[in-house]
């Protein structure tokens, strides 16, 4: 279990994480979701004892990372796939890590097998593709067979097959009773993997919720309508309690009424409809909605607050 309480981290004047609290529980995949630059990696570095927080605490099974007796046997992590000496072989990289925690040499071959790198174990990692480096990082995280695992953007740079493989592996590890804490800036990725989700923006907690609740609670839907008699239709729908938004293409977006109700009302009033379509917000729109207040860099210059 990972517990983060009131965590604050500044780099100079810049606040990276502010008063952040959440838990990641055993047996489930906890997604850590936020736009790029929202403080996900910083939070993970603090949990791993790599960066010192300015305030608050991060503990693993009740203890700060620094105090763990056998760090690699309790926690495994992949923070940056490329953070490997390019002049060392994959096997040597794993072996030098294993030795620090007195992990048996045979375990190096086991984890190489789990991630499918046995064939290239004696190649220099400098020649590895991003996907292979990612697999090597995952192998390193599994060395000590730890109960707590952290992965920062583990599917970055992987092809579709690789993404599916990582997803199944991580879900499988969680089902064995381990605590899985996995960051991503892609809602769709998280939706396929996470049971629980922590959403942050600009270093602050936006929400921690079950993935299913988050999707249900934020599912935005509306009815898109085009009609030659748009003005009387707007009046009619508004008197029936709908909220209307006029779009630039001449259509209207109706919320508060189902498409059946819109169709029936229009029929009764004798107003012709040229389009009547339910629209469901995509996962990414749910995510955008959640974090739009807190996105650090907007594409359009006028979009910044």
């Amino acid at each position: 279990m990972i517990e983060v309480r009131g965590l604050t981290k500044r780099y100079g004047d810049k606040i990276a994480v502010e008063d952040l609290s959440f838990n990641a529980y055993p047996g489930v995949v906890t997604g850590f979701l936020g736009p790029n630059g929202s403080g996900k990696s910083t939070t993970m570095r603090v949990i791993m004892g790599l960066d010192h927080p300015n305030g608050g605490t991060a503990t693993i099974n009740g203890r700060p990372y620094h105090d763990l007796d056998w760090p690699l046997r309790e926690v495994g992590a992949l923070l940056e796939a490329r953070a490997i000496h390019p002049g060392r072989t994959a096997r040597s990289h794993l072996w030098m890590l294993a030795q620090t925690n007195q992990i048996a040499r045979s375990r190096v071959d086991e984890v190489l097998d789990i991630v499918g790198l046995t064939e290239v174990a004696n190649q220099l990692t400098g020649k590895f593709s991003l996907g292979m480096s990612q697999r090597l990082g995952i192998a390193a995280s599994l060395l000590g067979d730890p109960g707590v695992l952290l992965y920062d953007e583990p599917v970055n740079g992987l092809d579709a097959e690789g993404i599916r493989w990582v997803r199944n592996l991580l879900i499988g590890l969680a089902r064995q009773g381990r605590t899985l804490f996995v960051s991503s800036h892609l809602m769709s990725e998280m939706a396929q993997m996470a049971d629980d989700v922590v959403v942050i923006g600009r270093g602050r907690l936006i929400t921690q919720a079950l993935m299913s609740d988050l999707l249900a609670g934020n599912q935005q839907s509306f009815v898109r309508v085009r009609s030659p008699g748009i003005d009387p239709l707007v009046v009619l729908l508004e008197t029936n309690g709908a909220r209307i938004s006029r779009e630039s293409d001449g259509s209207i977006s109706v919320s508060g009424l189902t498409e059946e109700m819109v169709g029936d009302l229009a029929f009764e009033a004798g107003i012709a409809l040229h389009e009547l379509a339910p629209v469901n917000a995509s996962l990414e729109e749910v995510f955008m909605e959640l974090t739009e207040e807190s996105v650090e860099y907007h594409g359009a210059p006028g979009g910044s607050q």
Binding site: P71, T100, A140
Partner: protein
Amino acid sequence: MNGETTAPRPPPPIFVGHSSLRGVIASEITKLRTVRSTMWSFGVLVVLAVGLSALATSLTTSHWNQAGFGERFTFDPIRESLIGVFFGQFAIGVLGVLVISAEYTTGTIRASLAAVPKRFRLLLGKIIVFGVATLIIGEIVAFASFFVGQTLLHAPAPHATISSPGALRAVTGDGLYLCLLGLIALGIGGIIRHTAAAVSAYVGLLLVIPIIIALLPSTVSNDVTRFLPASIGHTVVSRIQDPHNFSPGIGLVVLAIYAAVALGVAGYLLVHRDA
């Protein structure tokens, strides 16, 4: 391929004890051993340092008859054969810097610190492993240089044997000198963390500061020069001592203090800085 994920996880084993310095030392030996460039650098260091001594001593032998009286009088066969150390100190300095800076430039430091969150312990492991490795390499360089050099120094030029007065002291001190300079470089690497900047600082310490001090009035420079690593190096390998310099033993202690200070600062910064 992933039997790992299908079987339910057995109850987490209870581990007795805790990770220790022993594991860190084993890991640091692997780190040093498994990067080819390090092993090459050690090899090149030995070959070039010994080669330089061989070149100097064979030139002395062949040109002895052209040498003047003063030159012959001050000739020190021990120092001549250990001249390669002044090349070796640069090679060993680069290696010392790289032991830490390479971890930062490649990002390996994050994996290392995740495996060994007790940061001072990680540094201590590096100090022990690199210190012992450079002491061994340093002594190999020193003894090989001495014996190759003395073999090439022959009549009419004088030569020394290992039982000549001061010879054993000079040769063992030479290896220790290289080891201590390597540890100073390790400390500089830990403080500066960027390879190029740390190597520049180390080279500046050995080459640029002596030039600046030489420009000072001699009443000042005579007092300061003895503190320079290069002056200490000269004293250590020489039969005849310059009265302004420390004795070889004190000189090596001064170098050890430099190394301790540099490593102490590196350790403090390692513990207190973000990785």
